[in-house]
Structures are given as structure tokens and as C-alpha cells.
Symmetry: C2
Subunit: 111 residues, 2 copies
Amino acid sequence: MLPVIAAAACCAPLTREPLGQAQADDLARSLKAIADPARLRLISIIAASEGQEACVCDLTEPLDIGQPTVSHHLRVLTDAGFVTRSKRGAWAYYQLVPGALDSVARLLVTA
Amino acid sequence: MLPVIAAAACCAPLTREPLGQAQADDLARSLKAIADPARLRLISIIAASEGQEACVCDLTEPLDIGQPTVSHHLRVLTDAGFVTRSKRGAWAYYQLVPGALDSVARLLVTA
DNA sequence: CGAGTATATCGACAGTCGTCGATATCCACT
DNA sequence: AGTGGATATCGACGACTGTCGATATACTCG
């Protein structure tokens, strides 16, 4: 999937001029990726962590959902380009992609 | 449904501190409302119109989807608090709620 | 190597969503 | 009143999504 930053870098705020079909599709895909309570909480926990990076082992418990589900949500966020995964030993760490959320926010703001 | 502005006015950017379940639910609901290509295009057309207001009759044709579907999307946007409806004569006009998109964008931005 | 732990993938299931055709409602005009 | 146009609602259908349990994979430590 096209990462957020590439998808968002292209165009002016959507309140400026009518969006084309392709641009609308791209932005919708990015928004869908974060339009879920569990994923928003994952993002916020990761963002508030040291170096904006968190171990999966610290993400499973506070959300009160199963481990496979957490893994699924992290995959959606990764595919959309909001976080990146890096495995160190037995543990997996997810880190926020700098500017990813901002590039989406920039498109929404009323110019 | 709780309108965007009320839902978003409450809290700090989600990259600052972990989101609670209720706040995550609210923000996710607002994001879901705009996480659709057709609705994004509707918003962008309305926003680019005179007075940030557009007649439904001008919204049906450019999107290449049926009239009931357009009506449905406008309802979702209205329920979520992004636009308001006003009927004048036989025509219905939808106007952007000032600051609605911005209040969502503010929550996403990396502080 | 073998046991244990961490994470991802798979398959299934219920619930939600986008779309449509048909129909209802409301308004303007004759 | 009656006709025609504009918009909303209804009911249905297929597609997608979030969740789970079971299982696979990969790594660590004895």
C-alpha cells in the first residue's frame, strides 16, 4: 500500500479545491487506517513512549484485546505507513514514522 | 451522535499521552465519518463552493454515484457534525461547519 | 536439542458499510 | 387538485472489518 507520506505529499488541503477520485481514495485509505479506537490508542501509546517507540509486549495488556488482534492492528498501521517495525532479538518494536500523522492533518486543515 | 467539535475539544494531541477508551472511541467515530472517498470529495466540493455551501443538486453528478448514496453520505457527515443542512424551497444546501475539520486535524498533529 | 516465550499468520464468524432500486416526502407551478 | 422535480428513507445485498482461537514461526536459554 502507498504509505501516508507519499499519498499526502501530493496535494493541497481538501478545502481548497475538489479532490480527484484517486486522491480521495488515497486519503481515505490513510484515514481508515487510523479510524479505529484500538489503533488510535496504539498510536498514542507508541507516541508517548521513549523515542516514540514501543515494544509489542507493552502494547498488548493496556488495550484489553487479544494478542492476535493487536498484531493485526499493528500490521494495518504499518501497511499504511504510520509506524515501522523492527525486531530486536525475540521482541518486536514499533516506531512512529515522523511526520506521517502530520501529513494527514495538513490535508484536513482549513487553509 | 456527538458532533466533532465537542468530541475533539476535550483533549490534547494523541501523540502527547495515551488516549482513554472513550476519547479513542469519539475520535475514531469522527475519523470514520470522513474516511471514505465519496465523503471526502463531497467535503472538498462543498468547501470550495461560494460560502462553503453547496446545493445537493450540484453534488450528485460529479461523484458518479446514485442519488440515494449521495444522500446517505451527506447524512453521515451531518450526523458527525462536519456539515449542516438547510432546506431552501425545493433544494437542500449543505454547509461546512467552520472549524470542524480543524479540530480533528489538531488532534492528529505531532505536538 | 528441547522447552518456553514472543509475535505473526490463518480461518472463521458476527457485525458494519457502501451501494442500489423502489418508494415516500416535500415543494413549486399550473 | 394534480403533475413533475428534488431529496430522503427503506430494504436488501455483497464486501469489508474487528475479533477470536488455533497454529505457525522465530528467538532465548538451559
